[in-house]
């Protein structure tokens, strides 16, 4: 139904607005007006006529909106002139609507004339940037701060009706908020408008004054307007509703860097919201949300499981089955976008990459101007080695502010790390980490970072080198078979009984003949040193009758005896004092030489043994020979007992 010109003052030309147009314009106006800081237009256009100080749309948002229409600036100037804003100095509803109509005309190719607006025109199209929309919306949200209990369980894009119903209920519930609003005569189903409406929809739901007048005129219409009003409009709308549902009032950040056609950028408000949600799931913003927790949470969004699975795939950059804060934000954002009708991208958009998300929001999320300035003062040094310094500084300065500290230092690190390579999954978790925690976070082993574990193991191994084998005791060396301690002890008594234990046998190293000679040569100097008489008499003792075969026990008896103990085998005496002599003076230093000497001595001993045996044999044989010789000489005098 075509209502009379909405909000036309008498000065302006009669403006015929179609339903769709009315809806659209009212939403837009609400948005712009809300941004102005005052209340929205208080009520029906009739009331607007009556109330001069009524709704005015602030020039700023209006200008933004007009610019978003992508008309040349000239045209926009013309439009503003024509609509009368310049004349009256402000954008009232009248002017605003005229302007919008003119924009529509211009976009349709019609000349910008008052006459143009008299005919039916399509709705003006606005290429909204998300951030712009967010700003405006955020303003209203902040200013009004009404708690619109729009549940998070927003349905699919095709079911806006449900949302509308909710809004409807809210509006009907809060008529008191709009004193100027005439009771709605028609259900306020004006939410189904193209994206530019998205903002005002929710705003309208809160700003009852706004909604009421238009409700009268606007029946249930769902214009399938061009959805070019900025893809970002929907997510911010959704986000805004959610934000309001949590009744968070925050400073609107002048973040109006308009990225054209960037549905994948997360604005400040969205980010704050995501972070709050993260905290509700996981109190520590620096750690992870496990897969199952995240699954339950995201399943509430009523997206299909394959879609959720794909979103997870996109957002879990390091594929560890858990979400860090940036990953969580990315996943949330993708879900929101999907719910608002955006097809999921093939790959994670660059603005949703975790490192980008960390770097893109260097400001602290908590209102702390002090730290704002601090973070700005930190040079935008992209080198990670400054990170430690930053951390120390931040630790000192922010000792009193644990919560903002986390954020600022985390953000500082983000700024620093914005240029670092992407393969730093650990850094994601430092988003809001305290400086002290960040170090530990860096060291936190991840499921795929094998290198860290191996390094730790290597370090552990390095710390405990294997204990060296125990040093050999100061016993006799390998070659030596003498237990010289025992050898020396009973030297004084020098009993002939030979109570000493037998020494182990040693293999003679040098060849016997040489050893004999060498041993003899060595023995002499050793003998010179030896205090024993036995040593002196040893050469003589060699001539001792070899009748007594040298035996080991007898030989051993000789060794400990330093004093002259005759009727001992020469070899043993030689070996004994010689060995004693050698070992006594320089046991440690001349180990090797003593080894050799001992070997030689043993060789000497054995040779002398053999000598003795052979000598004995010789003597026997000679005796026999004598006998035989006698017999030969006396052939027939042989005794019968000759063998």
């Amino acid at each position: 139904m075509e209502a009379a010109a909405g909000g036309l003052c008498g000065s302006g030309p009669p403006l015929l607005l179609s339903e769709g147009e009315q809806q659209c314009y009212s939403e837009l106006f609400a948005r712009c007006a809300g941004a102005s800081g005052g209340g929205p237009g208080p009520g029906p256009p009739e009331a607007a006529r009556a109330a001069p100080g009524a709704a005015t749309a602030a020039a700023g948002p209006v200008a933004d909106l007009f610019r978003a229409s992508q008309l040349p600036a000239e045209t926009l100037h013309q439009i503003t002139e024509l609509c009368g804003a310049k004349r009256v100095g402000y954008f009232g509803p009248t002017q605003f609507y005229v302007a919008l109509k003119l924009i529509a005309a211009a976009q349709s190719g019609l000349p910008v004339r008052i006459e143009s607006i008299k005919c039916e025109l399509p709705l003006p199209r606005f290429m909204m940037s998300k951030t712009d929309a967010e700003i405006r919306f955020g303003n209203t949200a902040e200013l009004h701060g009404t708690k619109v209990q729009i549940p998070y369980l927003i349905t699919e894009k095709n079911t806006f009706k449900r949302i509308d119903d909710e809004d409807k209920q809210q509006e009907t519930q809060s008529p008191s908020m709009s004193p100027l609003a005439s009771p709605p005569s028609s259900p306020p189903h004006y939410q189904r408008v193209p994206l530019s409406h998205g903002y005002s929809k929710l705003r309208s739901s809160t700003e009852q004054m706004h909604s009421a007048p238009y409700e009268a005129r606007q029946p249930l219409v769902q214009p399938e307007g061009p959805s070019t009003g900025g893809p970002g409009a929907k997510p911010p709308r959704h986000q805004a509703s959610l934000i309001r549902s949590f009744s968070v009032e925050r400073e609107l950040q002048d973040n109006s860097t308009s990225y054209p056609d960037e549905p994948w950028r997360i604005t400040e408000e969205q980010r704050e919201y995501y972070v709050n949600q993260f905290r509700s799931l996981q109190p520590d913003p620096s750690s992870f949300i496990s897969g199952s927790v995240a699954k339950n949470f995201f399943t509430k969004s009523k997206l299909s499981i394959p879609e959720l699975s794909y979103i997870w795939e996109l957002s879990d950059a390091d594929c560890d089955g858990a979400l860090t804060l940036p990953e969580f934000c990315a996943a949330f954002h993708l879900i929101v976008a999907r719910k608002n009708g955006y097809p999921l991208p093939e790959g994670l958009p660059p603005t949703l990459q975790p490192e980008y998300l960390q770097a893109a929001f260097p400001k602290p999320k908590w209102e702390c101007a002090l730290f704002d300035s601090y973070s700005e003062s930190i040079p935008a040094n992209q080198q990670p080695r400054d990170l430690n310094r930053m951390e120390k500084l931040s630790i000192k300065d922010m000792a009193d502010f644990p919560v903002p500290t986390q954020d600022v230092t985390g953000d500082d690190k983000q700024a620093l790390k914005s240029a670092t390579d992407e393969a730093l999954p650990k850094d994601m978790s430092e988003d809001s980490a305290t400086p002290k925690d960040s170090n530990s976070l860096k060291a936190r082993p991840r499921s795929r970072s094998y290198s860290s574990t191996s390094i730790e193991e290597a370090m552990k191994r390095g710390e405990d080198p294997p204990t060296p084998p125990p040093r050999p005791q100061k016993t006799h060396s390998r070659a030596s078979s003498l237990d010289l301690n025992k050898v020396f002890q009973p030297s004084v008594p020098a009993s002939k009984s030979g109570l000493l234990p037998p020494p182990p046998a040693l293999p003679p190293r040098p060849c016997p003949s040489q050893s004999e000679q060498a041993s003899e040569a060595e023995v002499h100097p050793q003998l010179n040193r030896a205090p024993s008489q036995a040593a002196e008499s040893s050469p003589t003792k060699k001539e001792i009758p070899y009748s007594q075969p040298p035996s080991k026990p007898i030989r051993r008896k000789f060794r400990p005896e330093n004093q002259a103990t005759e009727n001992q085998e020469p070899s043993t005496t030689v070996g004994g004092p010689a060995s004693v002599a050698t070992v006594k003076p320089h046991p440690a230093v001349q180990k090797q030489s003593s080894k050799q000497k001992k070997a030689i001595q043993t060789a000497i001993r054995k040779n002398k043994e053999a000598n003795a045996v052979l000598a004995r044999l010789n003597s026997e044989l000679q005796q026999q020979l004598k006998v035989l010789g006698v017999e030969l000489s006396t052939p027939f005098q042989s005794s019968p007992d000759i063998p």
Binding site: S290, S309, E313, C319
Partner: protein, 139 residues
């Protein structure tokens, strides 16, 4: 390289099967199916000792005139079967092993997704992409 790649679950039903020449797919499906017997044979032969010591890569399962079938089994008895063209003589054992390793890693990534229920068909696009990269080199 690979002409057909299949991921078989523990209960011997396919979680993912894809072959490059989209005609004659049935032939590859049959080949994979018959190769499962060989896989089981190899597992049981090696599995007398500790399961952990078992080598994951099973090697050539059986050759046919045109194709060779390679197998790989994980510790959770999920089997990867790969059919390669026999004319591709340049393929060495190491390459096959690396392909299986990539498959295994991608499969682990799929598993990490909490929205993936073990036993479902694998619908991950990342996994698809990885398999495509392995197979695309034939043409």
């Amino acid at each position: 390289m690979a002409v057909c790649v299949a991921v078989i679950a523990k209960e011997n039903y396919p979680l993912y099967i894809r072959s490059i020449p989209t005609e004659n797919e049935l032939k590859f499906h049959y080949m994979v199916h018959t190769s499962l017997d060989v896989v089981d044979e190899k597992i049981s032969a090696m599995g007398k000792a500790l399961v952990d010591q078992r080598e994951l890569y099973l090697g050539l399962l059986y050759p046919t005139e045109d194709y060779k079938v390679y197998g790989y089994v994980t510790n959770s008895k999920v089997k990867f079967v790969m059919v390669v063209d026999s004319s591709n003589t340049a393929l060495r054992d190491n390459e096959i092993r690396s392909m299986f390793r990539k498959l295994h890693n991608s499969y682990t990534d799929v598993m990490c997704n909490p929205f993936y229920n073990p036993g479902d068909r694998i619908q991950s696009r990342a996994f698809d992409g990885m398999v495509t990269s392995m197979m695309i080199q034939v043409c």
